[in-house]
């Protein structure tokens, strides 16, 4: 489907709702918000159960994703548009996961659910129609994800770590944002050498993504070199998926999501941690390299 970039407007989406190649997926932090209505034809995914492995703390594997794509009707010719609450925080994780598994045309609705509702666009409570076509076969793209073991070598080869949590989390004043006690690590702080750039600096006050020059301006203002490979993390990999979408898909930069994120790094024994405002020294990561 042509005619829009990876970030689509509400106008574009409403005009294309009847397109048979369009698959609209809502992923919310509060999945029950779907009960108030959703974009007509949209499928609702629960981020805790549908886009996570149900047993291991991991992404769902190819078999589970193929099953999910069969349920949603994601085929080779599909354009998948994600949207959700909290300015697409969790929806972006869904977009990252689908791209990671090889879906080619994955987009995000600018402003998410918030924008659609504020503009009084139509909402429906009807369940999405079941699809008929054969689903796309997942093919993992390992270049979009990074695990903690790979981080020291990546940094040694020039990658820049970027922590997209709040400043309070970055400096170690809190372990998690208020309201997420179940998503806590054992220790506060950040990965040594990581630059702090909260994910929501990419949004304007109404929740829309900033224009590209301003996005690049935010990177510059935070001391991030767009020529370097960027490794993004947050608490559980969702806010960093939003930043990944912006950097990788919108700006065309080289970025990987460390979805293990702080809940993993800050809980494992012996991991180097930096506290306070100073990014800390990348050399501290070297003791993990052996």
């Amino acid at each position: 489907m042509s005619g829009a970039g990876v970030v689509v407007t509400t106008e574009w989406l409403e005009a294309h709702l009847d397109d048979p190649d369009l698959v609209v997926v809502e992923v919310d932090e509060k999945p029950l918000i779907h009960r108030l209505g959703h974009i007509p034809g949209a499928h609702n995914l629960d981020w805790r159960t549908d886009i996570q492995d149900p047993r291991t703390r991991d992404i769902p594997g190819p078999a589970a994703v193929r099953e999910l794509w069969a349920k949603l009707g994601v085929t080779r010719s599909s354009t998948v548009v994600f949207y959700g609450d909290k300015s697409n925080w969790y929806a972006s994780y869904g977009a990252w996961l689908f791209r990671l598994h090889g879906a080619k045309d994955v987009r995000v609705l600018d402003g998410g659910r918030q924008r659609w509702v504020v503009e009084d666009r139509p909402l429906s409570k009807a369940a999405a129609a079941p699809p008929g076509a054969a689903p796309l076969k997942p093919k993992l793209d390992p270049g979009l994800r990074i695990g903690w073991r790979e981080i020291p070598a990546a940094v040694r080869h020039g990658a820049q770590l970027v922590d997209v949590r709040t400043t309070a989390e970055y400096i170690g004043a809190v372990i998690s944002e208020p309201g997420y006690p179940e998503e806590s690590a054992q220790r506060p702080g950040h990965i040594p050498s990581a630059i702090g750039m909260p994910w929501d600096v990419m949004l304007d006050p109404s929740g829309l993504l900033l224009p590209e020059p301003e996005l690049l301006g935010q990177l510059a203002a935070h001391g991030i070199d767009p020529e370097r490979e960027l490794i993004l993390y947050c608490r559980i990999g969702e806010r960093s998926a939003h930043t990944w979408f912006v950097l990788n898909e919108v700006l065309g930069l080289e970025a990987r999501n460390y979805d293990g994120s702080w809940i993993e790094w800050g809980s494992m024994v012996g991991m180097p941690i930096a506290l306070g405002e100073d990014p800390g020294d990348a050399a501290e990561l070297e003791r993990l390299a052996d």
Partner: protein, 140 residues
Amino acid sequence: MSGTERKAGPTGAAAEVAPGLPSALAGIRGELEKLRAGIAAIEGRLAAVEQEEAQAPAKERPRRYYEVLVAVYERGGRKGLDADAFGAVGKEHGYDRRGLGGFFTGSRAPLRRQDGRVTLSVQGERLVDSYLVTLGGEGE
């Protein structure tokens, strides 16, 4: 590296650091960074208190009360509603300015003002969750 060095600041903010930068300017920047860290630490403590308060059972409220909270959640997104949008939400649900003020009072207030915008507190998030559970979904 010649002339100037691009140095990432504490929260990531970059600054051009020229050789011989007046120490007064560096001092002011240092003070600013300390203030930011202090604010973050206070917010952390406030959040911990809010979280504790939110554990207690909530008082029964009229439906429109919850609808205001849901509207703040749904229409405010990550950054919350500005004063005008919040006023409009209140009016839509029959609250005047004084009535809306009640959403911000008490140790278990469901709403808070942050940077001039209205967002849910931890208690407000819990009230929205409990309200959504009472709504029927598709096929329910």
